[in-house]
């Protein structure tokens, strides 16, 4: 329990650093987790080298989904679009520093799914993006 709700997760849930929607932006995508109704919207700004210069997320959901979105946004600033596309499930778990069962894993990975669907310019998010 203490592991799952680490201080960083509670802190980022209560006072996120990257919450909002960038306007203008170069990339925007949003999606839900239909099982629990969690919703994440991601907006990114890119510089001339296709590097993320600013990132933000908006939406609602549990502490795990919101904290992972906030930590993920922090981690992508400065990355190239190709590096963003290459992010994996393990990268998110490393950011959170916890292990999750199959149900909560979906909460944690929603933001990555939305981010990668946006980065690839896909019309829809699918689970293969976070395998």
């Amino acid at each position: 329990m203490d592991d799952l709700y680490r201080e960083v997760i509670i802190d980022r849930y209560k006072t996120p650093h990257y919450r909002g929607r960038l306007d203008p932006h170069d990339i925007a995508f949003e999606d839900d987790n239909p099982l629990c109704g969690d919703h994440i919207a991601v907006t990114l700004r890119l510089d001339g080298d296709n590097r993320v210069s600013a990132a933000a997320f908006d939406g609602h959901g549990c502490a795990i989904s919101q904290a992972s979105a906030d930590l993920l946004m922090e981690s992508v600033v400065g990355k190239t679009l190709d590096e963003v596309k290459a992010l994996t499930k393990q990268d998110v778990l490393d950011l959170l520093g916890i292990e999750l069962g199959p149900v909560r894993l979906k909460c944690a990975l929603l933001s990555l799914k939305v981010l990668k669907a946006g980065a690839y310019g896909l019309g829809e998010a699918n689970d293969e993006l976070v395998e």
Binding site: M1, I10, H39
Partner: protein, 408 residues
């Protein structure tokens, strides 16, 4: 009539397990599915050990025993809801399939473009989506009885909607989120006066309240075994004989026919007309055993116990700062307490409750429109049954204080 809950708990093996070493299970998720007494588990075991065979076919002794046991299950279920005749009970997979059966057969045969069906805003998706599908197919319209702020149905609006001459009124007898016990007899009386037939979603009421289809005058009643101490995979549809006999079959296959030729068939009599293929035989035996167990305890006593537990739970929950329970006050609801805890998402609440061994559900509980109505994406739901105790309510409250501590 007070239940000997300590004695009842001994009949449910799962209730004595620890969820983790030293953490006993506090099962408060019976609205999702109920736990099973030894009587049900043993009845199904005995069936497979001693009597397993296909039914309505073989001449051998096992086939005869299996058929008799399956039909005895039907008899138990019919008696439990006071059906006039055993043949009025159709076995399905669950309450959802029971409702779909009515939509696909009665609905397709009787609904035409422009016809109106009345539902309520508090329906489970299973008593909403089948009618949406039927409405789309037939060009029919849906109208909804609104839910008031305190979780009751607005019957004044219902009376106005009835002026549209609806063909059908489908409603829940007990909300799986708000716990609201709806005035079913009154809703049905008004529907009949307007010329509509009624479909009652009894998935929550039949397990928890004495239900008498004759005094309700219900045309159809749908319910599931697994929410009333029985196995998953089987449910029932009760229907008035005149309606069931006039309805076309649901699925085609073995057992639902009287005679088959290459180009045509003659359907079997009810209830077999609606039971194509080999049914869930052991599950019917288990369903019968579950109903016999509940009858032995007495449904009046079950309902009275749940009234006592929910009243206590509401009192304890409402004293926690930041907790808001949805739905009507005690006395107007069954043993369901869906709540929100300010500043904490229901998934996080449920996760931390699980740490205390307390099993609850978090989400929209298959009633998304109802949650939208209240402006909530999700709630945490604790639900109670005949085996729950006041001490378990206390454990729930202690665990919610644990959540508040973590989230500061």
């Amino acid at each position: 009539m007070t239940l000997d809950v300590a004695r009842i708990r001994q009949d449910f093996p799962i209730l004595s397990r620890d969820v983790r070493p030293g953490v006993p299970l506090v099962y408060l998720d019976s609205t999702a599915t109920a736990q099973k007494p030894v009587a049900v588990i043993e009845a199904m075991n005995d069936f497979y050990r001693h009597s397993n065979a296909n039914i309505h076919r073989g001449i051998h002794i096992l086939a005869e025993e299996a058929t008799a046991l399956y039909e005895r299950g039907r008899e138990h279920v019919a008696k439990f809801i006071h059906a006039p005749a055993v043949k009025q009970i159709i076995f399905t997979r669950n309450a959802s399939e029971s409702i779909n059966l009515v939509a696909y057969t009665w609905g397709r045969a009787n609904l035409k473009s422009g016809d109106v069906m009345i539902l309520t805003e508090m329906e489970h998706h299973s008593n909403l989506v089948p009618w949406q599908m039927l409405a789309a197919e037939r060009g029919a319209k849906l109208a909804f009885i609104p839910v008031t702020g305190d979780g009751l149905l607005d019957l004044d609006i219902y009376r106005k909607l009835l002026k549209q001459n609806p063909k059908l009124v489908a409603f829940t007898h007990m909300s799986n989120v708000l716990g609201t016990i709806t005035p079913a007899a009154e809703i049905i009386r008004l529907a009949h006066a307007a010329g509509a037939i009624t479909v009652v979603d009894g998935a929550q009421s039949v397990p928890h309240l004495p239900v008498d289809v004759q005094s309700l005058d219900a045309d159809f009643l749908a319910f599931s075994a697994h929410k009333m101490l029985g196995p998953t995979g089987i449910g029932a549809l009760y229907g008035k004989s005149s309606l069931l006999e006039a309805m076309p079959p649901f699925m085609g296959g073995g057992d639902m026919i009287k005679a088959v030729h290459l180009e045509s068939f003659t359907p079997n009599a009810i209830p077999h007309k609606f039971e194509a293929g080999t049914p869930a035989i052991a599950e019917a035996v288990g369903f019968g055993a579950a109903v016999a167990y509940l009858t032995g305890v007495g449904m009046e006593a079950v309902a009275a116990h749940e009234q006592e537990i929910i009243a206590y739970a509401l009192e304890r929950l409402e004293e926690i700062p930041g907790v808001r329970v949805l739905g009507p006050s005690a006395g107007k609801k069954g043993g369901v307490a869906a709540f929100v805890l300010e500043g904490v998402h229901p998934h996080d609440v449920a996760q931390i409750l699980d740490h205390y061994g307390v099993a609850v559900r978090a989400g929209h509980h298959c009633a998304q429109p109802l949650h939208e109505k209240f402006g909530l994406p999700a709630t945490t739901r604790a639900s109670f049954y005949l085996y729950n105790t006041r001490a378990e309510v206390d454990k729930l409250v202690e665990a919610i204080y644990g959540v508040k501590k973590i989230f500061g």
